[in-house]
Amino acid sequence: MSKLFFKNPIVKHAVQTALSLLAFAFVGTLMLAYVFDITRAPIEASEKEARLALFAQILPKGNYDNDLLKTTVQIPANAQLGNLQPSTANVAKINNKTVAVILEAIAHDGYSGDIKLLIALRADGTISGVRVLAHKETPGLGDYIDIAHGDWIKLFNNESVHKTPEAQWQVKKDGGKFDYMVGATITPRAVVKAVLKATQFFEANKATLFSIQTTQAEKLAQ
């Protein structure tokens, strides 16, 4: 009965077809597994390098002696940082003493979509540097917040809430101290606000952020 069943030309064709599809899938999987294996280390290395190069822009090397990528604090979703998801802060130390913290913040009120920011704050509360990680602002208009299209973001260097009163943390058009480009005010307005809020978060949580002495990731109690 079963022999007859497999001799049926339709069944035979179906089985052959299925087997050949399986063979292609098998060869494809083998190939992918092999390439994944040999590229995994270089990809990890270049991602790490890219991350460190970004950190070096806002917190020059030599300002810390620890492994920034391994010394992290998990920060739960926080309205002040604009993070809807938990984020990771990298802690810079010298002789196991915290000297700076790198925070991720998101501005939701940009001209189009979220603006992701990376902000490095020194222990005294001054900003070491800010960079835009990702944005969807209009090319050629609002994208000057990106270091690739202008130096505007460097205005934040060495700023702090102690140096500049909160009312001054606005673009010049709104009566603040921050320059902007005519025709694109919404974008810098959102960035200034997000940086201010991140700085305030840093001041409010300084004690907790700095109390972490180990080089292991720890949870920030909220």
């Binding site: 064709h13 077809t17 292609f24 992918l32 390439v35 994944f36 990809i43």
Partner: protein, 228 residues
């Protein structure tokens, strides 16, 4: 024999150009061509995938039953694209950051499947590889032209982002075509891609019409061109 190869090259680059004649794979054509470098990079990656997928399918074409050919083709293409995606990520990381999401999209670029289906599934490996490569280069030319047009009109530069591909030393090759240019936003935004592609198609059609008029008009003014 050499006639076949000549025809394959002509088809890929001009007669059946995927970008301006077949109009296949418009998604990356329109999305990526904000600069010349982006266009060329994605074009070359696509050409590589097309040559590889045509080359992979052609030798085994007799063992692929027609009922399952589309899943097999997609499987081959997807595997090859993933290999290229991982390789670029590992060995040209900055470029991967720029082209990032568009490389996986090569899988769904219908020009790749179209060439596998209509050429590699019926022809020997060497012509198939050449066909994939030439179609890919034909697409690359369109992407490069469109990218250059949009970049010059949109930003006033040419080859910006070259340093992302070849390292910081390549920065000196970036040309400022129009100094002190304030940018023309329309060219950079998606509508600029549609307009630019329209101009390229019109330009190609104009050249073809002129050629047809030259060859047929003097002798047989009322008869259609011989090729039809």
């Amino acid at each position: 024999m050499s006639n076949i190869y000549k025809e394959i090259v002509e088809n890929g680059l001009w007669k059946q150009n995927p970008g301006v004649v077949q109009l296949l794979g418009l998604c990356p054509t329109l999305a990526v061509t904000t600069t010349a470098v982006n266009g060329i990079s994605l074009g070359l990656a696509t050409a590589l995938v097309m040559a590889a997928s045509n080359g992979a399918v052609s030798p085994v074409r007799k063992w692929i039953a027609s009922e399952i050919r589309v899943p097999v083709f997609i499987l081959v293409i997807a595997a090859l694209v993933t290999v290229i995606d991982l390789s670029i990520n590992a060995f040209a990381h900055p470029l991967h950051k720029v082209l990032g999401i568009f490389i996986p999209l090569i899988v769904v670029n219908c020009i790749v499947l179209a060439r596998v289906e209509s050429f590699a599934a019926k022809n020997a490996p060497v012509p198939s590889i050449l066909d994939g490569l030439m179609m890919g280069i034909g697409l690359t030319l369109v992407l490069a032209l469109l990218g250059a047009m949009r970049e010059i009109f949109g930003r006033g530069t040419l080859f910006s982002g070259l340093d992302l591909v070849f390292g910081p030393a390549a920065k000196q090759f970036i040309l400022t075509v129009i100094p002190d240019y304030h940018g023309f936003l329309l060219a950079v935004l998606p509508p600029g891609a549609f307009l630019g592609l329209g101009i390229l198609i019109a330009g190609r059609n104009w050249l073809e019409l002129r050629k047809a008029a030259k060859t047929s008009a003097p002798t047989h003014p009322l008869k259609p061109a011989l090729s039809h």
